[in-house]
């Protein structure tokens, strides 16, 4: 559904994105994470056709980025979406429905269904009088007005309270279940981890790692084995009447088992702990990886 090849964007002498290549399959949820200034938003805007790449190719739903045909199939939610505060949600959404050539009857039904799903009331109130969470819901409804195949969401829950954040993330997850192809960025890695099929980690304008979470863990993360014994072994600490040792390989586990048996003891429990996405991300960011 989305093909990105050797994408580069320069602003004067500054390179914001350098050599990004990735693809997103139909119905897939693809998350982009990275520290501030990593090039996430620039990448998303090039996908949406808002920015013209300095080099490289972007294809969305079979169309070059920025073409009218592509825009018809795209729903874009920028990180900040200041609305026209003099308008009401209904007039605002109907206006965009007209721009997307959505028939009046269809638009009317779609607007009300979406606002119902988003639990947005006060639809005749001016947008300027609404809370930030309500405005974000209107912005999300606007991104769905053309029933797009592809959604590009930049920090969809940015600046929202926890309750609304969870609501928005759950709603995005529901959209994924409906078969939408979604590319989105977020600073809250828990949200990315919970709904993304695949993830790209960006740093200094480059995609330094990408793949399914399990693959990223396997390649860049760590697995720790917490081994509990009845007797003290080298490197163990006493904990609740038992001794706990931490190793990072099965060879280490076997060595502890041997040590415990040599001391007339035994291994009573082994627990495995894998790196979270946040730990993988932090490791890559701190190592300054720019593959």
């Amino acid at each position: 559904m989305i093909e990105v090849r050797d994408l580069r964007k320069e602003y004067g002498g500054f390179t914001a994105v350098e050599g990004s290549t990735f693809s997103v399959d139909t119905g897939e949820v693809y998350g982009i994470i990275g520290p501030n200034g990593a090039g996430k938003t620039t990448t998303l805007k090039m996908l949406a056709g808002l920015l013209e790449p300095t080099a490289g190719d972007v294809s969305v739903a079979g169309h070059d980025a920025g073409t009218t045909e592509m825009r018809r199939k795209l729903g874009f939610l920028p990180e900040e979406s200041p609305l026209y505060e003099e308008m009401t949600p209904l007039s605002y959404l109907h206006f965009f429905a007209d721009l997307y050539d959505v028939a009046d009857g269809v638009a009317d039904r779609r607007i009300h269904d979406t606002l119902d799903e988003l639990d947005l009331e006060h639809r005749d109130r001016q947008l300027g009088d609404m809370s930030k969470g309500m405005k974000r819901k209107v912005a999300i409804a606007r991104s769905l007005i053309n029933d797009p195949d592809v959604l590009i969401y930049d920090e969809p829950a940015s600046g929202l309270d926890p309750l609304t954040t969870n609501y928005v993330i759950d709603f995005t997850s529901d959209l994924a279940e409906q078969g939408k192809t979604i590319v989105f960025s977020a600073h809250n890695l828990y949200h990315v981890e919970s709904i993304c099929d695949r993830i790209a980690i960006m740093n200094e304008g480059r995609v330094v790692a990408q793949g399914a979470l399990e693959d990223l863990r396997a390649e860049h993360g760590e697995t720790e084995y917490h081994v509990f014994t009845t007797v003290e072994v080298p490197g163990s600490v006493q904990e609740n009447g038992r001794y706990r040792s931490v190793v990072d390989s099965m060879e280490g586990v076997e060595r502890i088992r041997a040590d415990a048996q040599a001391a007339d003891g035994s291994v009573v429990d082994i627990r495995t702990e894998e790196s979270s996405l946040e730990e993988v991300f932090l490791d890559l960011a701190e190592s300054g990886a720019t593959t």
């Binding site: 004067g12 949406a48 979406s81 200041p82 003099e86 308008m87 007209d98 721009l99 997307y100 001016q126």
Partner: protein, 626 residues
């Protein structure tokens, strides 16, 4: 461009802004407008009479001055026994006038003298024997205008036309009912001189006494309210006859240009508000072109400007509104409105805050108002006033015929310039320029580069920039006009050279900065050559357009001046044609080669091009003997 979406955006622009105004404000605004609409015509025709009754005069009806005082609203009639100085400024006992020893009383005396003179003039005009009332007559004619189709008129003679469908009571010759011996009135002239008729004895007696007013008034035959604004002096004595001040032109030009200054405030504001806080980002990602967006957002303001112009034009013609005349006025105002909006749009695209927008709108207001307003004031002075389309409006409202050439001369340059403004602004109506604090020079390069996609577009952009070139050169010439010739001519040549060489090369440099052209020497030469050809062709087209707009005798004069012998020979004519072509191609190619390298090389190359251009111009001027 999609007209349906453009109109949808236009409708949205209107409703969006209407949503920000509550109903009470709308009602109050409408009532205020209504009140102004009612009061303005009354004030224009009757005056606001702020000085009504300010001088108190003690007088009885037995005094010869009684009618003078009673008929002048400046005076208030009081009992002559009232206290002089406290209750009255003047006391008049039959013919004796006593004034209180106050400045106000002195002013009252002056006013009384004027009132007496005006009263006497009125009385004399009512005399049945005008020869007795005005034994000496002087006819004044202002003959510089040759295309008047309605002769001068004021008051009840305003409808009399040059082609002798006169219905007035004696204006311009009148009907010849005079008792002074004239058996037929003079005939109205068709040269717009505004003098009385020259018919048989019409001077002496034909015409019912309004002729002298017309002599002094003579600046146009506008009907309705505009006619009341015609000004002119309507006294019957030589002391009161004054040259016509272009008051009518001034007021008309002011009326049409004033609303534009308000409209661009709102327009600039809406454009900048799209950019601040990234509100317009979502329109850019919608399936509409930037031209739909710009056109849609501009249309309501253009429509408003045109609508207001139509209302003003119609109101000025009340009660006899001529739709054709209104249409001509609207047609002439449209390029001005587009120019105001185009300049504001471009400025709003460059402004990075509302603070900078204020600077933009003030600059646009001052510069374009000066351009449109000042020439139109001098509509009656000469053909140069036609550089402003408002001159067409004023002439139209004064009832003068307007030639197609004059229309083109007046309207095409601002239209082209407005097009360039919108084109350049559209070039930076994109994410990178709208929502970032990109520097103004970089935005300028972006704006130029957006229109450059190959060698043909280079030629087209060069040609399109020519209105700017001419305007800039004119400003330069005007600024250097006062210094001595020995300095002014070389300086003017430098100004011309600098402006033209940048006009031919800046967009080429912008194109190279955005990787629009193939690298290398020969591609640069080709691109430069196309720019030179574009400049040459554009220059000639503009020259032809200007010649078409000028009177034939002026064109003949120019040709004679240019060749010194009248009609040029064919080789000389070819030389005149090819030499500038070669110059522009060579200099533009040099600049393009520099532009293809880097900024420093471009600046060095353009300086070389300027030096060559200066040498050429200086040679031509020297040979021409200027």
């Amino acid at each position: 461009m999609n007209p349906r979406k453009l109109l949808r955006i236009a409708r949205w622009e209107v409703t969006k802004n209407a949503g920000g105004v509550d109903r009470r404000t709308i009602v109050v605004g409408a009532l205020a407008l209504l009140a102004v609409g009612i009061a303005t015509p009354y004030a224009a025709t009757s005056g606001v009479a702020v000085d009504s009754g300010i001088y108190r005069v003690g007088i009885t009806n037995e005094s010869a001055y009684y009618d003078v005082v009673r008929e002048d609203p400046t005076f208030a009639v009081r009992d002559p026994q009232a206290d002089l100085g406290e209750e009255i400024e003047l006391r008049i006992d039959r013919l004796a006038i006593d004034a209180a020893p106050t400045p106000k009383a002195a002013a009252a005396q002056t006013e009384l003298r004027s009132s007496v003179r005006a009263y006497n003039n009125r009385q004399m005009r009512q005399e049945s024997n005008q020869s007795a009332a005005f034994p000496v007559r002087v006819s004044l004619g202002y003959t510089e205008r040759t295309q008047v189709r309605e002769v001068i008129s004021t008051g009840d003679g305003q409808d009399q036309t040059a082609d002798d469908e006169g219905t007035g009571d004696g204006t311009d010759g009148g009907d010849g009912d005079g008792s002074g011996g004239g058996d037929e009135g003079g005939t109205g002239t068709d040269d717009g001189s505004g003098t009385d008729g020259n018919g048989n004895d019409g001077t002496a007696g034909g015409g019912g006494g309004e002729n002298i007013d017309d002599v002094a008034g003579g600046t146009g035959g506008v009907g309705g309210i505009a006619g009341q604004l015609a000004g002119g002096n309507t006294s019957g004595t030589p002391a009161d006859i004054s040259p016509p001040f272009p008051f009518q032109s001034l007021v008309l030009a002011f009326l049409f240009v004033l609303p534009l200054n308000f409209i661009i405030q709102a327009y600039g504001s809406t454009m900048v508000s799209e950019r601040l806080n990234r509100r317009g980002e979502l329109l850019l990602v919608a399936p509409v072109s930037r031209f739909d967006i710009i056109g849609g957002k501009t249309l309501p303001y253009l429509t408003g400007a045109i609508g207001i112009a139509a209302v003003i034009a119609a109101a000025l013609e009340l009660p006899a509104v001529d739709p054709v005349s209104v249409g001509i006025s609207v047609l002439a105002v449209t390029p001005i409105a587009l120019l105001f909006l185009g300049a504001t749009f471009l400025g709003a695209m460059f402004a990075r805050s509302f603070k900078e927008l204020t600077f933009v709108t003030v600059t646009v207001t001052v510069s374009l108002t000066t351009y449109a307003f000042v020439p139109a004031i001098f509509t009656d002075v000469g053909a140069v006033a036609l550089i402003s389309p408002l001159t067409i409006v004023v002439r139209n409202l004064q009832g003068q015929a307007i030639g197609l050439g004059e229309f083109a001369f007046s309207l095409v340059p601002p239209l082209l310039t407005a097009g360039v403004f919108f084109g350049l602004g559209a070039g930076i109506y994109r994410e990178e320029d709208m929502f970032t604090q990109r520097s103004i020079p970089l935005k300028a390069l972006d704006a130029l580069a957006a229109r450059v996609h190959g060698k043909w577009s280079v030629a087209a952009v060069t040609a399109i920039l020519l209105p700017f070139v001419f305007v800039t050169e004119l400003v330069g010439v005007a600024a250097l006009f006062a210094i001595p010739d020995a300095l002014s001519i070389p300086t003017m040549l430098v100004v011309v050279v600098v402006v033209e060489e940048f006009a031919k090369s800046l967009h080429v440099y912008a194109g190279y900065a955005h990787d629009r052209f193939e690298a290398g020497l020969w591609p640069a030469v080709v691109v430069g050559a196309f720019s030179g050809i574009g400049f040459f062709l554009g220059e000639k087209i503009m020259l032809l357009a200007q010649l078409v707009g000028l009177p034939s005798e002026v064109v003949e004069g120019l040709i004679a001046t240019g060749t010194a012998t009248g009609v040029p020979s064919i080789p000389i004519a070819i030389g005149f044609l090819l030499a500038p072509l070669a110059l522009h191609v060579v200099t533009a190619a040099i600049s393009a080669v520099g532009a293809s390298r880097n900024r420093r090389a471009y600046l060095a190359a353009v300086v070389v091009a300027m030096a060559i251009h200066f040498a050429y111009n200086y040679t031509v001027v020297s040979i021409g003997g200027f």
